[in-house]
């Protein structure tokens, strides 16, 4: 049973997608079928987390079957401690977004819900694949549902948005394909657990650029504004919440442990890019004219912060990065969903037309306030814990990076408070009708679980950061490099 759990996590949404695609049911029932599937998926994740031995750093719940032998490619899935958390955040966020899509009654439900479930399967696949080609296949497979979800259900500028999104992602992933082919064939295996370390700069860059586009990191974020603004709210939530984590996970799982010496050589470049993303993203978020703009540029900033943690090359930074990935997935997906809820009431997200929504809408105000406060990393919140670990980790590299990180946290407070007050407080905005309702039960059912997860993590951040240990051989390989530097 244990060996099958990861495969089940892949098969449930995949099977659900096929079922939704062919089930002869009316639209409303398709939505409930998809919701049920996504909740079953959460249930299976809880089971798998329960059976996972967090004390054991090796690959668990794994299953392997040969796919094609002559090139040594296999179907190999499994989870490490950190993958458990990333899969968990994926299934939770995907369930919330699927339910939201059901609640708002998306048109053309058959395609919509099967794509949502397919996307769930692809993302879970990215986090659990232990074969390089399989990883690549899932990584590519994420693009297809996203392309159509944005293109069909997106806003007026969706054509342009999908085009930029696809151009960026395809360029990135094909660079990665070339790297995958060269790496795997050279080593005569595609098994991530067996691939030896390499010191090829070209391969490293092929992977890193693909991941930096997905994350996104500073010079590769051109697709972000269009895609996040034009996509339906729940798809933006998925994009910034979980899809971006696929890029960061790639850095964590492939780029750093498989190319430790090159990663060390390029450390400063990546740290600089991460710092720029953090500060520049925060400034853009501060200047953004709309609610979604704030959230999406804050995602850019947070990606930068997480990369800082990853390239700190120590356990503190690593734990912080994993914790912050989970935090940010929950925060940013709830904020995007909340932005969607606000937009449904006012038919705009422009901050200058919004305002005063707290009056008479206590639930909306409470939920936005709580999420916002956690997002700006107020002490005792889970994101405070994550950011603190990252800063502490990167401080060991050089104090300057920690200063940049701390600046980012200050800026986060500025942009988040600005957005909160522009939506909830100040004068009642011209686009806010008096009749605009408070959060309905269905909306609460979507957002409150996410916020509760955040509150729970705030109470016990060590649940993730203390149980995300990297397995000894692959990941600590860069630790000696750092200590060598220290002794010089």
């Amino acid at each position: 049973m244990n060996a099958w759990l990861t495969t089940i996590l892949l098969l449930v949404p995949f099977g659900g997608a096929l079922l939704v695609a062919i089930a002869p049911l009316p639209g409303y029932w398709l939505g409930s079928l998809a919701t049920l599937t996504s909740l079953i998926e959460v249930g299976f994740w809880i089971t798998s987390a329960g059976r996972f031995h967090f004390g054991n750093p090796s690959l668990q719940l794994s299953q392997q079957a040969s796919w094609f032998k002559d090139l040594h490619v296999s179907y190999h899935v499994g989870q490490y401690a950190f993958s458990v958390w990333l899969v968990g955040m994926t299934v939770v966020v995907m369930a919330a977004c699927t339910i939201y899509g059901w609640w708002v009654g998306r048109t053309r439900p058959r395609l919509y819900f099967s794509l949502m479930l397919l996307l769930t399967a692809a993302i879970v696949g990215v986090f659990t694949a232990q074969d390089l080609l399989l990883f690549y296949a899932f990584f590519e497979a994420m693009l297809i549902p996203l392309y159509v979800l944005i293109g069909v259900w997106g806003g007026a500028g969706r054509m342009r948005a999908t085009l930029t999104f696809v151009v960026y992602t395809v360029v990135g992933s094909l660079l990665m394909l070339a790297a995958v082919v060269a790496y795997g064939l050279h080593e005569h295996t595609f098994d991530l657990t067996q691939l030896p370390q390499r010191s090829s700069t070209w391969l490293f860059l092929g992977f890193v650029i693909a991941f930096a586009i997905k994350a996104p990191l500073f010079p590769f974020h051109g697709w972000l504004p269009d895609a996040y603004r034009e996509a339906p709210a729940e798809v933006s939530a998925i994009l910034s919440g979980v899809v971006s984590k696929a890029g960061l996970y790639g850095l964590l799982r492939i780029a750093i442990p498989k190319f430790p010496t090159v990663a060390n050589d390029w450390r400063v470049v990546l740290l600089v890019l991460a710092s720029i993303s953090l500060v520049y993203g925060s400034l853009l978020a501060f200047r953004a004219p709309d609610f979604r703009g704030v959230v999406m540029y804050s995602s850019l900033a947070q990606s930068g912060l997480i990369v800082l943690g990853l390239f700190a090359f120590n356990d503190l930074g690593f734990d912080g990065a994993v914790l912050q990935m989970v935090n940010h997935a929950l925060i940013s997906s709830s904020l995007f969903l909340l932005a969607g809820m606000v937009e449904r009431r006012t038919s705009t997200g422009e901050l200058r037309l919004l305002g005063g929504m707290a009056r008479g809408r206590p639930l909306l105000a409470t939920v936005i306030m709580t999420t916002g406060i956690i997002a700006l990393a107020v002490p005792l919140s889970s994101s405070f814990a994550g950011e603190f670990l990252i800063l502490a980790g990167v401080f060991q590299q050089h104090w300057a990076w920690a200063v940049v990180g701390a600046t980012g946290i200050v800026l986060a407070a500025m942009y988040m408070l600005r957005a909160i007050s522009a939506v909830l407080h100040e004068e009642v905005g011209s686009a806010v009708p008096d009749s605009a309702l408070d959060l309905r039960l269905g909306e609460l059912a979507v957002v409150v679980p996410l916020v509760l997860c955040l509150v729970g993590l705030s109470a016990w951040p060590n649940l993730v950061s203390g149980h995300a240990k990297p397995p000894a051989p692959g990941w600590t390989a860069y630790a000696p490099l750092v200590s060598n530097k220290a002794t010089k």
Binding site: A21, S66, W67, F68, K69, D70, L71, V73, R108, R110, L111, L133, Y136, A137, F138, E140, A141, L143, I144, Y147, V148, G151, V152, R158, M159, T162, V166, V167, V170, V171, L174, L175, L177, A178, V181, A182, L185
Partner: protein, 488 residues
């Protein structure tokens, strides 16, 4: 008394069964009353292709070693048997697509007779073991295809396409013939292996002959710069004919090219490897760039077939066991994808009564969900996305190129794939992102025809395209066995 050579009739069974079907169809054209003629003819044609398919499968299973037949003029081996399986399969599916086409009742049986005769020619062509049978096979199926292209004289552009194809194709055949004459003139040998044994590898006349043979085969596989006939012929021909041409002709031409080059010209490998690599680059560049600006879907697919010729030529240029395997594997999903894509175009064409452009595909995905999803899968397959065999095919081709050290061909292939994303996804976009009501498209009358057989054919293509992604190992085993027939 003329001494008769021993003839292994079983080895010729795929060609002979198709030839028999063609003869029978000519009888049908005369003896069966008009009312039943179309159905009977389609049935006989289908039965002919299926018989050939079965014979080819048995032939493949029962031919462990390469045998030369009839004074070394034909091969009996797995390399050709596998290609015959694919050709006969493509033909059978093309018959399914042809049934719904509006043929004039008078010529319907002749149409199927020509289709089976062309199929017989291809089955003969892939077995060719000397320059005579090579040319004979080439002309045999080409003449069938010239007439098939122009058969629907009511269709605008059909005659023109047929004429263009005839003129350019004749140049191609003449080039091949002249090249063969030079090779024969230099070596005094006709059969492939004796030419190699004669050893005139560095003789100028011999090399000019080699170049002309490559050019002649390049015309048939529509590799740039010998592709000029492709867009016009593909566009002008009745769509079921196009689907057959796109899949079966390419299979025959590339399989034969691989054999002729490796068996006949092994000593000039260093020369033709680079030539073929150059042709591959030219096809990839030209096919993809020209496809970007097309609006007519058949033309887009025609240029896409040029670019796929480029991909498969990469495998030919690699000229190793892995490359031969890659070519045979690639042809499986490729044949299914081209057949299926043109079938969907045919369905839209019959519905609207006008040539299908990107504009009038609008809303197609919503109106006919099954064909929409199928077309979507085919486009992603051409693009080389996961969940279709196109992904594995591309991967194998790159692996073959890497194996030989042609890493720059991988780069070209990757860049070409990036470019091709624009037009393949453009078709998905045309089908889903816009409503037909936006463009005020009116079907040519009533609800769309049901076209049961076409849907069956598309289903077969879909199953092959997706199935070849999952069942890689068995297919690769077959392709591997086929590749062993070549002296690599």
């Amino acid at each position: 008394m003329i001494q008769k050579p021993h003839v292994d009739w079983f080895a010729l069974s795929p060609s002979l069964s198709l030839l028999g079907a063609a003869g029978l169809l000519l009888m049908v054209a005369v003896f069966v009353p008009r009312r039943w003629r179309g159905g009977t003819a389609a049935f006989v044609g289908f039965a002919g292709f299926v018989t050939a398919f079965v014979f080819a499968v048995v032939l493949d299973a029962k031919t462990p070693h390469v045998v030369e037949l009839i004074h070394d003029s034909m091969f009996r081996d797995r390399w050709s048997a596998f290609a015959q399986v694919l050709i006969a399969g493509s033909g059978a599916v093309a018959v399914l697509f042809s049934v719904g086409e509006r043929w004039s009742e008078e010529h319907v049986a002749e149409y199927y007779a020509l289709l089976t005769a062309a199929g017989a020619g291809m089955a003969f062509f892939v077995q060719a073991a000397n320059l005579m049978t090579l040319f004979l096979g080439l002309e045999w199926f080409s003449i069938g295809l010239y007439v098939l292209t122009a058969i629907d004289i009511d269709l605008i552009g059909s005659l023109e396409a047929g004429l263009k194809y005839l003129v350019v194709g004749a140049v191609g055949s003449a080039t091949l013939l002249f090249g063969s004459a030079l090779v024969y003139g230099r070596t005094g040998q006709l059969s492939f292996d004796r030419i190699a044994a004669a050893g005139h590898a560095h003789d100028p006349m011999f090399l000019v002959g080699l170049a002309m043979v490559i050019a002649g085969l390049g015309f048939k596989s529509s590799a740039a710069p010998f592709h000029m006939w492709t867009p016009d012929a593909y566009q002008g021909a009745p769509t079921p004919v196009t689907s057959f041409m796109a899949s079966a002709t390419k299979i025959a031409a590339l399989v034969v090219a691989y054999r002729v080059l490796t068996v006949t010209f092994p000593h000039d490998q260093h020369l033709w490897r680079l030539t073929i690599a150059g042709l591959a680059c030219a096809s990839l560049a030209w096919g993809n760039i020209a496809a970007l600006v097309q609006r007519n879907v058949k033309r887009i697919l025609a240029y896409s077939s040029v670019s796929h010729a480029g991909f498969m030529l990469i495998a030919v240029a690699a000229a190793n066991q892995l490359g031969a395997r890659a070519l045979q594997y690639y042809l499986i999903p490729y044949a299914a994808l081209s057949l299926g894509a043109f079938a969907v175009v045919a369905a839209r064409e019959r519905e609207l009564g006008v040539p299908v452009t990107l504009e009038n595909l609008a809303g197609f995905g919503w109106e006919r969900p099954f064909l929409g999803v199928a077309m979507w899968t085919f486009m992603l397959g051409f693009l080389g996305f996961p969940l279709t065999g196109g992904f594995i095919g591309k991967f194998y081709v790159f692996a073959a190129a890497y194996d030989h050290g042609f890493w720059w061909l991988i780069v070209v292939g990757v860049v070409a794939t990036m470019v091709s994303a624009y037009y393949y996804l453009g078709i998905v976009r045309a089908m889903y992102f816009r409503e037909s009501a936006d463009l005020q498209l009116a079907p040519s009358g009533g609800s769309p025809p049901r076209e049961f057989l076409l849907s069956v054919g598309v289903t077969i293509c879909l199953v092959v395209a997706v199935g070849s992604f999952f069942a890689v190992q068995p297919l690769i085993d077959v392709a591997k066995a086929a590749a062993r027939s070549l002296p690599l």
